[in-house]
Amino acid sequence: MLTKDKIKHFIITELIADGNLTEFGDTTPLIDSGIIDSLGIMSLLGFLEASFSVQISGEDLIPENFASIASISNLVTQKCSFG
């Protein structure tokens, strides 16, 4: 499964509380639409760090990096490439 697909799968199954899947694409705003909230982001961080063996801390912990599937995927790719 591709990075984007893995992230999307997690968001659909774990963060959309009522189970009513709304269609969203790679650039759909996840924070502004309320799909990711302040607690959801901690759950997402745990998933990203465990699934992709990366550490996300300090300056990377800004909302912009979690605004869409595309931006999350970019962050993960960036962290993976830095080892």
Partner: protein
Amino acid sequence: MDFDLTDEQKVWRETVIRFSRKELAYDIADFEKSGDFPWDAWRKCADMQLMALPFPEEYGGCGVDFLTTVLTLNSLGYACKDAGLVHALATQILCGLQIHLFGSEELKAKYLPLLCRGEKVFAQAITEPGSGSDAFSMRARAEKKGESYLLNGNKVFITNGPMADVVIVFAVTDPEKKTLGGISCLVVDDGMAGFEKAKPLKKMGLNTLQNGELFFNNCEVSSDRLLGKEGQGAIIFNETMEWERSLLPAAHLGTLERIFEISLKYAKERNAFGKHIGSYQSVSNKISSMKVNIELGKGILYKCAVLKDSKKRATIDASICKLFISESLKQACLDAVQIHGGYGFMCEYEIERDLRDSIASTIYSGTSELQHNIISRFIGL
């Protein structure tokens, strides 16, 4: 996951216990009456470098791991009967962790040495009159004006607030954005124009701890005092809570161990109807439950500390830790009063103070109800 303590950690734990029994054995009742803060004890703790433990040596810290810091709070909770002082120390360390994890090099260099030496008292201001556990519904506003923020609003119940020299203030910087992205953290010094502190509030317990209201009225804070980046406040808050919900329960677990030992001793010595009262199951069950909770509490507490030392997430673990240990402590204190009968109800036996102090542990740093909500979210409910 390895929870074995090193020989150094075991020796350090004993050292902190000896220090507490010798240097922090003042008459708390006097301070409870006056409402004063035990400054001599604070300075002794600073001399012992207890506030400096987890911070790098370059900032005046000791550079020890988080598990050792947790063990230190645990030892203080066990051997120091002044839960207010221990809470004040934990708050100082937590503020330092926020600055260390998210502060600019300038902020770290300026504040961490003062914090480590205990020369300045630090506080974090989140709670407001209209927002407690629902912290992100805060109204305090930090409006960008050129190179500064204009801070307006009130904070309440702020630990160390009335005596704080430095306050980490959470405020809304962008009301249009949702919680994520709309809240930021600013470092405010006592004495800045537009910042006022009220007198300490009277409480049912933790009476040496200074809690109070803070007022910000057009307080101009330069943007280089921003902790992290603008809009990072909610993430800083959640990140900080993982450390806070490990440090505070560490002290609570220590107190629970003390309560257990006192109750066990009394149950072996006190006789009723020709037998020591510990031989009655209605008493022994209470004490065995304390022992069960101590062992279970140690497991989740050490797990949280090891996770944070490994730079891993501990959101759900820290919530479980905080919920379980604070509720266990409150129950143990109630049971200890009951086991001691009339003596337990008397101030002289000091258990009633532990009970009063323990009530707050299920409220601050997120109520038990909020911890259940967090745990529920993480298990998909």
